[in-house]
């Protein structure tokens, strides 16, 4: 008999990885890795805000992340500081501020490592519902807006001339990214959450000949990483979040090797 907490962990991690796949593909295509990292680094501030307001972290973090994403989107328009520099400034400011606020407000209740690297084996039933809701919203909106999202990603200029609301698409992606980062906080933690977005998508790139195939394979690779990582963590008594992230990175390098061999094999034939 499998322990219920293990089943919950698998369910939450799979839901997150499935939603993270296609969004991660957009992060790779649009070079939003810095943006995502800045979002992830601010999660702790959201949790601290939750403590202050007496809300559960999983609930409090959602509106906070959406707000922070909007703020970053607005700040991207300024011309005083290069965008990636500004994102780094804000990311580290948010992380340091978050750690200090949480330790002041949360006191003994807080398990800092759990937030930084995830604590998926400790998720409760209510968190499954939250992550499932987030995954459903992300999946649904991606399906509905897939073509305009993709078109705006290939070329904002052409998409705009063809009537796509490119700015709204950018906004949508950023908000979805904030949601998925908030959902991933419990699974792999804020420091590793972007790994489950970027790395599976990057691994899928070598085997995909269309954007749809890449997005789908990113989801599948993410889910495979979750299952292998959790199994390894269970068997070897390792921290689950880092185990999942390490499996993803391993899969990436394997895909790189396979792609390199596949290419040289094809060119020889």
């Amino acid at each position: 008999m499998i322990e219920p907490f293990l089943l919950r962990a698998v369910a939450v991690a799979l839901l997150f990885a499935a939603a993270a796949g296609p969004l991660g593909a957009f992060v790779v295509w649009r070079r939003m890795a810095y943006f995502g990292e800045a979002l992830a680094h601010s999660v702790l501030l959201g949790i601290a805000a939750g403590f202050l307001l007496g809300l559960a972290p999983a609930i409090a973090v959602l509106p906070f992340m959406l707000g922070f994403a909007l703020l970053l989107l607005l700040l991207e328009r300024q011309r005083l500081v290069p965008v990636d520099t500004l994102l780094a400034v804000l990311a580290h400011g948010a992380l340091a501020g978050g750690v200090i606020t949480v330790s002041l407000v949360g006191g003994v209740r807080t398990d800092l490592l759990g937030y930084l690297f995830g604590d998926v084996l400790a998720v409760g039933p209510s968190e499954i519902a939250t992550v499932a809701g987030v995954a459903l919203v992300i999946g649904g909106l991606l399906l509905v807006f897939w073509r305009p999202l993709l078109s705006a990603t290939v070329s904002e200029e052409l998409a705009a001339v063809e009537g796509v609301a490119v700015r709204r698409m950018r906004l949508l992606l950023v908000l979805l990214l904030a949601l998925v980062v908030a959902a991933g906080m419990r699974v792999v933690g804020m420091l590793l959450v972007m790994a489950l977005l970027i790395v599976p998508a990057a691994a899928a790139r070598h085997f995909s000949r269309s954007p749809e195939a890449m997005a789908l394979r990113a989801s599948l690779l993410g889910c495979a990483s979750v299952l292998l990582g959790l199994a390894g963590a269970w068997e070897l008594d390792l921290p689950a979040g880092p185990a999942i992230a390490l499996v993803t990175v391993t899969l990436f390098f394997l895909s790189l090797l396979a792609a390199a061999f596949g290419r040289s094999g094809r060119s020889r034939s």
């Binding site: 295509w29 290939v154 070329s155 052409l158 998409a159 001339v161 890449m214």
Partner: protein, 263 residues
Amino acid sequence: MQVRTVTPPRSRKVRTADVPEPLITARGLVVSREGQRILDHVDVAVHAGEIVTLVGPNGAGKTTLVRVLLGLVPPDGGTVWRRPGLTIGYAPQRLQIDPAMPLPVQRFLTLARPAGEGELLDRLTEVGLPDCLDRQIVSLSGGEFHRLLLARALLRDPDLLVLDEPLTGVDLAGQAELYRLITRMRERRGCGILLVSHDLHLVLAATDRVICLEGRVCCAGTPVDVAHDPDFQRLFGTEFADAFAPYRHHHEEGCPPPSGGRR
């Protein structure tokens, strides 16, 4: 010097409709960047069935004007009016496709409009790109990619076709072919076409109206008129006027007003 025969422009009887309403009209466009005035009170209009070409030296504001007309850049002054429901097909001069995304030709085209394989093949054959539906975009050469951009613009079945330097990277044989295609588009679909081009020989041969831009409209009119305009000759020399030798006439009155080029 490259020698190319230029057929004189045919008589302009393409517009048979009585309604002279333009597809797009811009009045008094002003665009400034960093204190530099890029467009200075520019007037442009394109009508259905008409080929209008923007010429001008580098930095004359041709691409900026196109981007304002397309609604990609808000002007600092002036107005752009588009016929309600106007469908525009646009082939930019440059477009960077990030290799991070695997993107076959077929998917690139269907981003503009969902279309069946047969229709896609027709458009691709039309622009001289048969058998490339499954090729990855990043594997296309510059000239091939430019033809693909044209195919995507045509796929929209546009009322107005806007082509920014459509001959970029296209080989010489392909250039003449593409110009024939552009002329055919106008005849078959009756769409208006706005071209930006440096290739004056071909432009002057296949264009109804030339607008010579140098921040402001320095002259405009039929290719013959413009080729003989002193402002145009100052920018581009007299060889184009010489190409129209059989049509040479005295052109004392200067160029017509910018937006009054219809005759």
